[in-house]
């Protein structure tokens, strides 16, 4: 009975893992990149300059700019720069008749000069963030599919734990250079050792999606989708309506100071002003999400814009909000400083590696049966092609995305859209390539291409911008330098992997042949 149960779980683990493995690999890798979303955006929009953060100066600059350019707007939104996001972003909504929605305008300002920055159009790191839960599909479908993938991931994790017989005995075991055995060891090691992260990230994604698929107000769900965002997060009913009499808006900086005092020095992320030119103007100051592990969706302090009177301080969140907020906060890791952020990143890579090794094991085990025959059955060949395209192909696509950012002319029409197109074209080409090349050669070639593309990224950055590694390091722009160095390191790693793949291309030694029997008993 017990063995029967375990076998059933192993079966589920095998097939659930295979069918969703390719998609989950992409979700995990792009989601991992999203931990460095702001840093990636910074690299992809080098025109936005980094200045020492000074919120009061930024607020004054933003207020002056909006007063000059959008005095009659219905609302202003000011997103303050922080250590990770150098640009000061302002947005305003035109005033229109009641019952209609005004258009939104968005500008990125230089927080010192107050001038609008002419930055190249690019989605930056936002692309990876969006892709990892929307999958570049129309509105509800991408989210549904990624929710389904998250559920399958959860099932695969649980069945994986049940299937793994010797969690504690093999806890520290990794035996490299032993073919299939090593892949299984590696799969178990990254699975078991980083299990708390895997469980947290998968379960929390389900918690987040639970409200996402039932369209409830959750901050992360919007971003570009400004309309839904504003109606949900800033309900118009909450603030006093415009009286139609002109009023003078007080400096926002003093309200900023008061709000921070309310939060015992907590940080401000965003300031919203309703009816800025009206006597009934109101100002909402929003707390930064990076302040605490538990994400608080509506921590605000409201003021009257003309008298400066404090109107409302949002209360403590309820217990369910704290539970939900802590899953949300843990998943997004916005509270993490640089070191912890890197640890998050490594955990995410470990999750990606777990999925990747799992896919390789599935194929490797079945390939052994056909090792003598020269033709592989169609289904195995299909899995092989998809393995190559979904893993090394995705790496090429990511590199192509960064290349497009540097090589497409700044004035190119639909530039940001073409960056994304390049990503998918590169991915499609790698699928094509994988389907015409035989297995190992496909791997070696694609990994080599990925290695070259990544290693060259610091070079094209140096050739096309004035922010090359030397400049970035000298000026202490760690996000810019870190991006280049990480790409270089990735390139070196892929080159190593390609070499390793090629060397194993020579016929496997006999010892490896004898192993499948024992392996099957353990893994299956």
């Amino acid at each position: 009975m017990r063995e029967g149960f375990r076998q059933a779980m192993a079966w589920l683990h095998t097939w659930a893992g295979l069918i969703f493995g390719w998609l989950l690999f992409a979700i995990f890798l792009t989601g991992t990149l999203a931990y460095f979303k702001e840093e990636i955006s910074h690299w992809m929009q080098p025109e936005v300059q980094t200045h020492p953060v000074d919120d009061v100066r930024s607020l004054n600059v933003a207020q002056q700019y909006l007063q000059a350019n959008a005095p009659t707007a219905a609302r202003w939104f000011i997103n303050l720069p922080d250590a990770r996001e150098p640009g000061l972003s302002v947005m305003w909504q035109d005033k229109v008749d009641p019952g209609q929605r005004g258009n939104f305008m968005r500008k990125t300002l230089d927080p010192v000069s107050g001038l609008a920055v002419q930055a190249r159009e690019s989605m930056g790191g936002e692309f990876f963030y969006r892709f990892h839960f929307q999958l570049q599909m129309p509105y509800p479908w991408g989210r549904w599919l990624s929710t389904l993938a998250a559920m399958v991931m959860f099932v695969a994790l649980i069945t994986g734990i049940i299937t793994h017989k010797k969690i504690f005995k093999d806890f520290f075991t990794f035996r490299p250079r032993k073919g299939q055995r090593s892949w299984l060891d590696g799969h178990n090691a990254v699975g078991v050792l980083v299990l708390p992260f895997h469980l947290m990230i998968t379960y929390s994604s389900l918690v987040i999606f639970m409200s996402m698929v039932m369209p409830a107000p959750i901050l992360a769900a919007y971003g570009n989708d400004t309309q839904a965002f504003f109606s949900d997060v800033f309900p118009a009913t909450d603030n006093a309506p415009a009286l139609g009499q002109p009023g003078r808006l007080l400096p926002l900086a003093s309200m900023y100071q008061q709000a921070r005092a309310q939060w015992a020095g907590g940080h401000v992320e965003r300031v919203a002003v309703n009816n800025p030119s009206d006597v009934n103007a109101s100002v909402n100051v929003f707390r930064a999400g990076s302040d605490s592990v538990v994400h608080d969706f509506g921590s605000t302090v409201s003021f009257s814009g003309t008298t400066g009177e404090l109107l409302r301080v949002s209360g403590e969140p309820s217990l369910p909000a704290v539970v939900g907020g802590s899953f949300y906060g843990l998943h997004m890791g916005r509270f993490a400083g640089p070191v912890l952020r890197w640890l998050y990143f490594i955990c995410g890579l470990a999750g990606t590696a777990m999925i990747g090794t799992g896919l390789v094991i599935w194929l490797g085990k079945r390939q052994l049966k056909h090792a003598k025959a020269h033709v592989m059955p169609f289904e195995l060949r299909l899995v092989e092609v998809l393995n190559i395209a979904s893993m090394s192909g995705l790496l090429i696509a990511i590199a192509a995305f960064f290349w497009a950012n540097r090589l497409l002319p700044v004035s190119f029409a639909e530039r940001s859209g073409w960056e994304v197109q390049t990503f998918f074209i590169a991915w499609g080409l790698s699928l094509l390539h994988a389907s015409v090349r035989r297995g190992r050669r496909g791997w070696v070639e694609q990994l080599s291409v990925a290695a070259l593309l990544f290693m060259a990224i610091p070079v094209i950055n140096a050739l096309t911008t004035s922010h090359h590694l030397g400049v970035a390091l000298a000026s202490g722009d760690w996000a810019m330098a870190g991006f280049d160095l990480t790409c270089l390191a990735c390139g070196v790693f892929f080159a190593w992997a390609a070499r390793k793949m090629q060397r194993r291309g020579v016929p496997a030694p006999k010892a490896e042949r004898a192993r499948p029997l024992t392996l099957k008993r353990e893994a299956h």
């Binding site: 005995k169 806890f171 520290f172 075991t173 990794f174 035996r175 490299p176 090691a189 990254v190 050792l193 980083v194 299990l195 708390p196 992260f197 605490s292 592990v293 538990v294 843990l330 509270f335 993490a336 070191v339 912890l340 640890l343 998050y344 490594i346 955990c347 470990a350």
Partner: protein, 108 residues
């Protein structure tokens, strides 16, 4: 976070040495039952006690997250080092233990 990392790494190394297989590989001998028990207790204690400095520096919420992170990644580091550089893995644990009082002093 550094001191928690050092303690977790040393703790996992102790737990690793408490198994016959790894003790044999690393030190070329079988551990006596007393030694095995000692290593196991020491390892468990180090892992648990590492919560202390993490929470001390960053508060409960962030401290526990940091502790979990270094717990996972120190084990991963150890497991990846063991087959390739076993001596280095042991030396790191020793250096970590020696350095942790210094690191502790730095956060006080």
């Amino acid at each position: 976070m550094l001191i928690a990392m050092l303690m977790c790494y040393a703790g996992f190394t102790a737990l690793c040495l408490a198994t016959d297989r790894h003790h044999g590989e690393l030190l070329r001998s079988k551990p006596s039952p007393a030694r095995r028990l000692g290593l196991r207790v020491a390892g468990g204690l180090l892992l648990t006690l590492a919560i202390g400095p993490a929470v001390w520096v960053s508060g409960w919420a962030q401290g526990l997250v940091e502790w979990c992170a270094v717990l996972m990644l120190s084990a991963l580091l150890l497991v990846l080092l063991l087959p390739y550089r076993p001596r280095l893995a042991l030396i790191l644990a020793g250096v970590g233990l020696l350095a942790s009082p210094v690191a502790a002093f730095a956060i006080l």
